[in-house]
Structures are given as C-alpha cells and as structure tokens.
Symmetry: C2
Subunit: 314 residues, 2 copies
Amino acid sequence: MRLATLRDGTRDGRLVVVSPDGLACASAPVPTMQQALENWGKVEPALSGITTFPDPLDPAGIMAPLPRAWQWLDGSAFQSHGDLMDAVLGITKPKTDVPLMYQGTSDKFYGPTDDVKFPDEALGIDFEGEFGVIMDAVPMGTGAVDAMRHIRLLVQINDWSLRTPAGPEMKTGFGWVQAKPPCGMAPFAITPDELGDQWCDGRVCLNLNVDWNGKRFGAANGEPMGHGFHELVAHAARTRDLVAGTIIGSGTVSNANFREIGSSCIAEQRGIEVIDLGEPRTEFMKFGDTVRMEAVDTGGRAPFGVLEQKVVRA
Amino acid sequence: MRLATLRDGTRDGRLVVVSPDGLACASAPVPTMQQALENWGKVEPALSGITTFPDPLDPAGIMAPLPRAWQWLDGSAFQSHGDLMDAVLGITKPKTDVPLMYQGTSDKFYGPTDDVKFPDEALGIDFEGEFGVIMDAVPMGTGAVDAMRHIRLLVQINDWSLRTPAGPEMKTGFGWVQAKPPCGMAPFAITPDELGDQWCDGRVCLNLNVDWNGKRFGAANGEPMGHGFHELVAHAARTRDLVAGTIIGSGTVSNANFREIGSSCIAEQRGIEVIDLGEPRTEFMKFGDTVRMEAVDTGGRAPFGVLEQKVVRA
C-alpha cells in the first residue's frame, strides 16, 4: 500500500491511497496521515481494502506524506558516510556500537516538488538522500525485535543540510540547529510489504538514484546500514515514549565503493576529494540548483515516487 | 496575564485565564494554547479582557501550559553552568560568541505535578531548573531586536536530564537523544509584562528556588544569561522559520556564586565537588525522590506557580 498527502490549504493536508500505477488515488477514511498513524490498527484494514482509485493524482499537489511530525530523529547508520564526514569536518568520535542519532526540526517537511528556501549560499547548501521509517506509538523500553512491528511506513527523505555551521555546531557537542533546516520527502509513504524481500533486516535495500542539476551524482544502496531501522527505533525509545508519527531516518545512504557509484550528498564527495586530492573541489549548491532523488527496486519501479526540489533564496 | 491548560482527556487540554491570586480561572475563547499562539494578535486582546474568574483552579488538574509543542530548542546561556558541566563531562568546547543550543523532544511536556517515569536509576536522573519563552510565528532571518516582539509568553521549565548517556552522546557531536527525555513545566505561562522590570533585556530576573526532597538545593537568579532570550530566538531563526508555539529554553539557571546560593541541577553540584574535592560526592536522584521549583519575584510572589514532580520507575 502506498499513501500520499494532498495539498488542501491546511498544514496537515488530506490523506489518500495511491493506485498501483501511481497515477490515481482514493480518499482515505481518515482525514490525515497523523490520525491514521494514531489509530493504525483500525485504519490500516480500511486503507488496504481500497481497490478503486477514482481521482487523478496531480504530482504538483502532493505534500510530504507526513507534512509535519511531533518528532524527527535522524541516524547516521552508514559507516562509509560517517568516516568520510568525520574526515572532512575534522571530528574524532569515540568508537562505539551505539547508533548515532540527533533530533531535528519536525514542524515542517517540504513536499517533493516544493522549492526550498535558504538565506545565503555561503551556508554551504547540501542535500542528503536518506530512507526513513514512521511508527505508530512505541512505548519506552521497546527492544529491537518488538520495534520492528511498530514500523508501519517507509519514506524517502532529503535531509537538507548547511555545511558551514555544521562543523562548529558539532564541535559544541550540542548537535545541529542552524545546520539542519527542514527536510523534504518523496511523494509516497509505503507499507514495508511493498518492497518484498528488498525490505530486509530493517533495511530499505534499494538503489537511491541522486541527480544534481540533471546529472547523476550517486546511486548508493540502502542495504549496508550498520544498524537496522528497528535498532534505531529501540535506541530512540530507550528513555522516552515515541508518539505515533515519529519519523526516524537512516542518515545519508552511502556505500563503501563510493568512488564508483557516487554519493547521496555533496559533503561526502568533498570528503573523497580531501582524501584523494588534499582539498575539496566540488562546491555546494547555488540558488536555482535542483536535486532529484528516486529510489528504484530491482524491477525498475520507484516505490516512493520522485523527489525533485529547487533551491531558492529566502 | 497568566494562562494555564487544564486536563480534559485530550493531548492539548483546555486553555484558561488565571485569576491574579492564582486560585480561580476562566475559560479562554479558543480551546487550546497552540491555537491562541497561532492567532495571538486576535486572541490576546480577548484573553486579557477577561476580568471575572468563575471556576476554582485545581492544581492537580493543571497540565503544562503547552502540553506538546512543534519545536523545543534549549540553550545553555549561563556561563557558570557551562564551564562546570564541561569540567565534569571532560568536554573541551571551542570558544565562541555563538549561543549554544540543541533540539529536544517536544511531543510531550509533563504537567507541574505529574510523576516522571524513567527506566533505570543508573541513567543518572537529574533535574534542570530553567526559564523559557514561547513565540508566535518567527520568520527565518528575524534579528534579535525584532525577535523580542515575538516573545509572547514566559514559562518555567524542568529540563529532565539523564547524565549517564549525556557525556557519550555529547562526544559524538550529534547532541542528546537518550539524555534528554521530556521536560516538565510549571503551571502558568505569563505575558512578559507580569514581571515588570524583572523582565529585563530578554532575561527573567527572578530567583529560581529549587528544593530536592524538601531541602533547598539552589536559588540562582535568571539575570546573568550570556545571551538574552531574544538573541536565542534570532539564533534559532537564522536558517528556519519558527512555527507559532516554538519554545526556547535558557539552559540551567546558574550564578557564578554557586558555592553560596546552590545550583539548579545536581550535575552542577557534582562539578563543584569535582573541582573542590577531586570527585563527585552527591548522587543523582532515586525513584521516589521529588523536586520542587518555584521562581519568586522581589515581592515574594511566584508568577509561574509551583512545579513539584516525583521520579518513578517506568
């Protein structure tokens, strides 16, 4: 099952079920995605029972599947990305088996075709292609095995990042505020069964194709997460309840053979340049630049649809 | 004007205006605090025009003034606290004039008399007495002078903290997740005019009396913030819009003469012990412990009311 949220003038939009071909939709029996997640046990059968899709689906009218959330926690579960970022930022992190995670702004997620506004190119504007999961309510202390059952939907995320404040903020130990403005989301939130065996051990095992200004920049696969999403959920729920609709991200999708398949963010490419050439060569995004992200399965389908966003001056 | 939110079985509760003596209340013309903040220009005159308070106010029925918020950003604006915490955690931060700030969990704020649940005493359970501000919508790029006008309400916060994961999380550079479960709030959110000249240069210049298990632990004053709240707001709004109802905290209230007046958190006391005695002596909270926080003005009044919370096993 694939779900989307349509623009209707409200902050939360209107929930629809999307047809298998992605071209049509049907109204959901609850108004919003948040309400569906808060009552998932009752709502899910009604949603999955919908088989006729009377309304055409206009890509320009699609918001983020969850246009705002009560909680957004982002991991950094791809080791090859973490190592490179540490190198380029000059960070020395202690070795640990504990997942890396920060809390980000959740009051707004940009829709898949929304322009994204920043005040200044000098902030080092960067995209980060990620996968994410959305849960129903997860009680404090839930372990990884049980956490898997709370993962109700999968999403594809562009974690917009500003690299100039990122290093200094990280060095304070307080994490990121200015460096992490709102994220964008691809059109469709999907139930895990949509991926078949490409949802494996809590990982979205799809290639994430990332194009910057129309040119292929990366095509990393989501499989090599050091911790599965269920483990990230358990980590987050160690000392707090997770309210229904909490979103947890994978961190930038990255593979160890990044020199061949490219990267899901510019900072990683710059990290490679620092290591190989002694300095970064690739500049960050400029106003007017676009980024396109599309995860594809082995059949060539794009379960999450396409995210394509333009950077504009605030 | 003082506002409170009453328990009514919903997550957002029911907004009331509180009488000057704090013993009675009147229903507000909008159901919730969030709705009031989203329409402050229209709602504030209606709220402040209320002069009769027909309903008795039951302290046990009071939730946090804003029981959940779309965004909670906490500063660390008291230098004497920051220096001590760095000493006890073994952190070396770069010197900077930029405010320190992290994003915390905002989907729930405990009410002033709610029991607070944690899974394990070994997590190092600690309170942090703070002040905070709540804004209407603040556009990205708003400077400090303009930010002052967006500060609509002041609150008193207990920023519950778990010290065992705090140091390791800080050393990752990602900030705190497990170390920062939901905060508590004192009963009343107040408009800045309630404090007269004790709201000064964006600071809440009241003594914050903190009692642990009935014994005075600290009585620091909110005046010596290194950055005023308006500067913290401008910092947060540098690269993002702040949605109406965003809450920003001061960080633990702390004064340089902490050896005389005490501390607003246990970790600070332990930091003093590390410096003076070579090791921390004071243990963190145990299940069944209580903390009471009451900010008092020069007239002996408690504008925010009293927060008194008990720690319980989850």
